[in-house]
Point group: C2
Chain length 355, copies 2
């Protein structure tokens, strides 16, 4: 059986499929609960949320389903705030604000909500937590385990997968270079983690004992079956769920994915201060030459947020962050339930037909 393994058992899943915990409003409680009810694992992307907003969403998810679900949080990093960089980046954004007719807001550095989020996660008995941009401390993992919270890490290299295992997480998502949205890299130059899924997964599987979850470029049953063949115990899919009916992604974002091709995405730091894969547009081209001088995350993210938000309102997708992986031709307008059902049927059909 393709859908029975240690990982599914451990997480109480019918199918070894995780809906990625994409931050920024995509992972509505409706999406998360639909995915979990369909037998996969829904994840609330809480990366940008305050503990209060996250709590509200978790309560809503629990009203919608009794199934397992996960919450994804960002590991805080040293924020080497450079007010000079912030000021320079802010000036670069003047022309967009002028065009959009929005005012410059006084810049305030956003604190990482991590500690407060973890506290709420424990209080609310969230069953599964996944981490991006780093690894939780040994103490955090211990504390979560003591409270029966299952932990999932994120890695973009074999080395990062090994670090996750050493910290004691229960499973690790290995993110291939095809993945849409932010790179999960946390050890030095992110380009060293730009490794394709078909190459990264088996190399990671050989070096860790915890279950490896494949991510990056997986959109349908073919990708799921391929990942299992590579030795992964499950998959994590992001872009495929962005265009689903329950997703909270902006309509322009959904439409951009539905009509683009495999050649039109690039990895850029200009929106958030961290490298992420999205559809090439004017904002990316405009700021490309300044990329290395922009502030890091979360400062650049805070600076561009009002512009991206207003651009969506005024229907200017050229100035929005249109995150997408490298297989957008496989995106659909299905509901999350139809998407998962379709994948399951496709996997079973392929096994019958081919082997």
């Amino acid at each position: 059986m393709w859908n029975t393994n240690k990982f599914c058992e451990q997480l109480g899943l019918t199918y070894p499929i995780i809906q990625a915990g994409m931050a920024g409003g995509v992972t509505t409680p409706e999406l998360v609960s639909s995915v979990s009810i369909a037998g996969a694992l829904g994840t609330l992307g809480a990366g940008y949320m305050t503990a209060e907003d996250m709590t509200e969403s978790i309560i809503r998810i629990k009203q919608l389903t009794n199934h397992m679900f996960a919450v994804n949080v960002f590991i805080p990093e040293d924020n080497n705030l450079s007010s000079e960089r912030v000021a320079r980046a802010d000036r670069l954004l003047d022309s967009y604000r002028r065009d959009l007719q929005i005012k410059k807001e006084p810049f305030t550095s956003t604190p990482f909500p991590y500690d407060a989020q973890l506290e709420s996660i424990l209080e609310l008995n969230v069953p599964i937590v996944s981490f991006t941009f780093g690894v939780p401390s040994r103490e955090t993992v211990k504390e979560l385990k003591k409270n029966n919270v299952i932990t999932i890490g994120t890695a973009t290299t074999v080395e990062e997968a090994v670090i996750n295992e050493d910290r004691g997480v229960d499973a690790v998502v290995v993110q291939g270079s095809e993945a849409g949205g932010h790179r999960g890299s946390f050890t030095g130059d992110f380009s060293k983690g730009m490794v394709g899924t078909i190459a990264l997964v088996p190399q990671a599987v050989d070096q860790v004992r915890i279950p490896v979850i494949a991510a990056g470029g997986i959109m349908d049953g073919r990708g799921v079956l391929a990942s299992l063949a590579l030795g992964a115990q499950g998959v994590q899919m992001g872009t495929a769920f962005v265009t689903s009916q329950e997703s909270g992604a902006k309509v322009q974002h959904k439409e951009a994915i539905l009509k683009t091709t495999e050649s039109e995405t690039v990895v850029t730091s200009v929106f958030s201060g961290k490298p992420a894969r999205g559809i090439r547009n004017q904002f990316i081209s405009d700021l490309k030459e300044f990329e290395s001088e922009l502030p890091g995350y979360p400062d650049q993210n805070s600076l561009t947020k009002p512009i991206r938000k207003e651009a969506a309102k005024q229907n200017k997708p050229e100035w929005m962050s249109l995150w997408s992986g490298q297989a957008p031709r496989l995106s659909t307008r299905k509901s999350a339930t139809e998407l998962i059902d379709g994948i399951v049927r496709q996997v079973e059909g392929l096994i019958q037909e081919k082997w």
Copy 2:
């Protein structure tokens, strides 16, 4: 059965595995014939060869086996020879020549051997020809077909796969961004073809009717099975054969692959004038800042060739082109026969165990 499909039947293969036609001395007649005798498809990489040298190798292959084999040739491009660029690049190489104590040779532009190669291929009744860096003309395809030569194209995007199909080739290799050696891109900016195998293959399969062969990051039975799951009818493997016993790769090249990791390869044009993936070394770092000003292929290749050759003799791998894909941790010292036998056993084991 995993190893029976239209593609295997058409090519007379027992297993849907192609050994890539790597240029530069890797694909010895011993390697090509061993692969073909083992039930896969050996390919002579004739890209850099004169028609005479190619003919000699083909005759030797035919002495060694009656099985099917292929010859890979490069499609010629407009060579916008800039003597200024050549002179500048040549000056950059002075310091290497000085250290290696070799003389500067007068530069002569190498003509593309394509037409003469095709003539010899027809004369020698080569059963299969594959093409890189472009597509053969409709007339060439017709002529080859008339002579019962099977043709295989190379693509790095869906668009390039469709162009290949339109030209009438019998199958198309789609090369994911993980692949070692040269990018096969032939429509504009190669970066638009830097798409991971797991994303590229199913998108291409959906758009062409000819068999799609997956390439990039495939090193063992897991990669083969994954590729078939994605809808490919076969795989092409390069790096896995570079380290095989029958390979003609330099010993330093083999050892470099055997000891490196997934994070240590980069795509660079500094060796040949065309983007190719190899293991990061000093030559690449040294010339990185001049990359955009270097001459194109084949001129830069001709310029650096004596240096690379002498660097190998003097055991300076830092100045050699150490082509490798993104899964070098999976490389082995096996013979080509053991490699293929191992893959077959692994595929069959995985199917039994998992499904």
